[in-house]
């Protein structure tokens, strides 16, 4: 027990050292944080995507690291199941609940019920008035950065294929709105109407056939300049489609930083133009730290941003590697 305690303290110290690089972590030292004897409920809409799995894992690992008990619930991308799990979770009266992604319209009444039951609610990547803290990336930045990178690569003019199937997911809304805002300054960059719809499941296949169809519809080289998606799984299908059609003038843009997409951006021959890479594992961990601080009576801000990095063709070799290493370390492919 004492040995493992020492290990824990060591791990915490190392974690603190790592955390120091994140400007967002507030002054409280990591040693003070503890979830001993606490039960933390974790509800995720699904874990089929790299980002989701990493964040979900980050939350669980951190709760255990801090000595707490975790009730981990994966709804398998089924709204009905997530609602049922949340309902039962409320009855279980955990010390705090961390909720990760999902349809806000569906979730909000239930998040309200969590608060009504007196259970502190924390969210990961889900902006809702019911949460005490939302830990996420700065999606305003991400959205603008990736849009500006795209506009720069296009030379300020051309047509963009945009996937907009998840506007009801808050982070996608922000990124899409930022794209639109950036484009107001570049009137020669036009979004092709109607927009494309990304779907779950079969995201890659569906994006592949959508982009292939659109390229067939606009056969002249240069008629399409870029493909944009609010996450990077459609980007995989889009990149494959562009390459298969031999339309290498088209570049693809996405957000999240799944290892296979980072590898694509690192490959100079690939059509993947850039990806905004987030730190989902850190985001998950940080949300637990926020919960622990709150339960220890400390003040917690309404949102915490964990830094992200724009990986483009120029910096990919240098900036991409740490993300691939982190993925390997977490054992998530």
């Amino acid at each position: 027990m004492t040995n493992s305690m020492k290990g824990l303290v060591k791990a915490l110290a190392l974690g603190l050292a790592a955390a120091c690089s994140l400007a967002v972590i507030s002054g409280a030292t990591a040693e003070e944080l503890s979830l001993k004897g606490k039960r933390i409920g974790v509800s995720a809409i699904g874990t089929d995507h790299y980002w989701d799995l990493m964040a979900f894992k980050g939350i669980q690992d951190r709760v255990k690291e801090l000595g707490g008990e975790v009730i981990a619930l994966d709804a398998g991308r089924k709204d009905q199941q997530q609602i049922a799990q949340l309902q039962t979770l409320i009855a279980q009266k955990p010390d705090a609940i961390i909720e990760q992604l999902g349809n806000l319209e569906v979730l909000n009444p239930w998040l309200q019920k969590i608060r009504d039951a007196g259970i502190p609610l924390f969210t990961v990547d889900t902006a809702t008035p019911h949460a005490i803290n939302n830990t996420t990336s700065n999606n305003y930045n991400i959205g603008a950065e990736i849009a500006l990178q795209m506009v720069a690569d296009m030379g300020g003019k051309g047509n963009v294929l945009v996937f907009n199937g998840f506007y009801s997911v808050p982070v996608c809304k922000i990124r899409y709105d930022q794209l639109k805002y950036v484009l107001t300054s570049f009137p020669d960059v036009k979004i092709v109407e109607p927009e494309l719809r990304d779907v779950i499941p079969n995201t890659v296949q569906s994006a592949y056939s959508n982009v292939t169809d659109m390229l067939t519809k606009s056969p002249e080289k240069g008629s399409i300049g870029a493909v944009w998606a609010c996450w990077d799984v459609p980007q995989i299908g889009a990149t494959q489609a562009v390459e298969a059609a031999g339309r290498n003038e088209v570049k693809t843009y996405g957000i999240d930083g799944s290892p296979e997409v980072i590898k694509m951006v690192m490959d100079p021959k690939s059509s993947a133009g850039a990806v905004a890479a987030q730190q989902p594992y850190e985001i998950g961990k940080t949300s637990v730290d926020n919960a622990a601080k709150y339960l220890a009576g400390q003040k917690v801000p309404p949102f915490t941003f964990v830094p992200s990095v724009l990986i483009n063709k120029e910096n990919a070799a240098e900036k991409g590697k740490p993300f691939l290493d982190a993925a390997e370390k977490a054992g998530v492919k």
């Binding site: 039962t88 349809n103 569906v106």
Partner: protein
Amino acid sequence: MSASVLHTEVGVSDEKQAAAKSAGRRFGALVVRLGAIAAFAAIMAYFVVFAPGFTSTFNLINVVEQSAILGVLAYGMTSVIIGGGSDVTEGGIDLSIAANMGLCAAVYATLLSMGYGDFLSVVAAIGVGMAVGALNALAVVGLGILPLLATLAVLNVAAGMELTLTQNTVVGASSPLLGVLVSGSFLGISALAWALIVFSAIMIVVVHGTSFGLRLYAVGGHPEAARAAGISVPFYVSFTYVLSGFCAAVASILTVSRLSASTPGSGELLLSVLAAALLGTVFSRRFVPTMGGTLLSVLFIGLLANGFQLLNVSSYWVNGVQGALILLVVAITSFARGSEGSR
């Protein structure tokens, strides 16, 4: 299988032998059936003892509430299986029921969000649900297509129409009716739980307490005998598909109330619906689907997920256990039926 072949072409002594064999099988089936029920009971007993808070009234009402949508759908499926016969490959089955619910939910939520009131939106949703049911009936009864294939095709029609209508997006909805369903309660039981209780009572009475229900079983069990007795088999079979569509529509309204929206992915429910309808047969002595049996298995599936969560066992196990139980029940059913040689 072999028994059925013998039946048609051999003499009295062999028939006696076959009868003895079938009696043996029946006894075996009874043992296995009681075994399955005992397994159900054992799982529940385990939850009662070890899952914290499992038996609290609050928790049990939660489970009833969580089971309402699945329950209503499972009644639709059960009625189709009763009327079409429970032969797994050629009997009655409605694979379109979950997709139909998705379509009805989309219609309901879209109309509400366009500003049409509850009355019109509910009527439209129920109309669409029954129309999809009627399409199934047309394909199965009118065109004589195998239910498995006919309803699979209709599944795709319904799913496609839902996608066209919603563009695969979430359509938010609110209305006075939804408000009552979400937050209403009577005698400490929530509106959604009442919906299941009332719907169950109606289905049990209609199917098990009326001559109509008796004729429905006759149609499914022995269509030739039913025809000889002057029962219109096509009418009864068609009726079950339209009823199934009606159940899909009712479930869609419950879904929209629970999710405050119509969302893509309703089709996912199909497996649980089939599981509930098939598992239910274990509660009947003759392995036929009954409404009561379906209710018990719906609650069992709900309690399984609930108990696992309370025990902090990964939810991934629920699917596995559910699948294993279906396999067990289908195996028992075919075993028990082998002797009867339905054709």
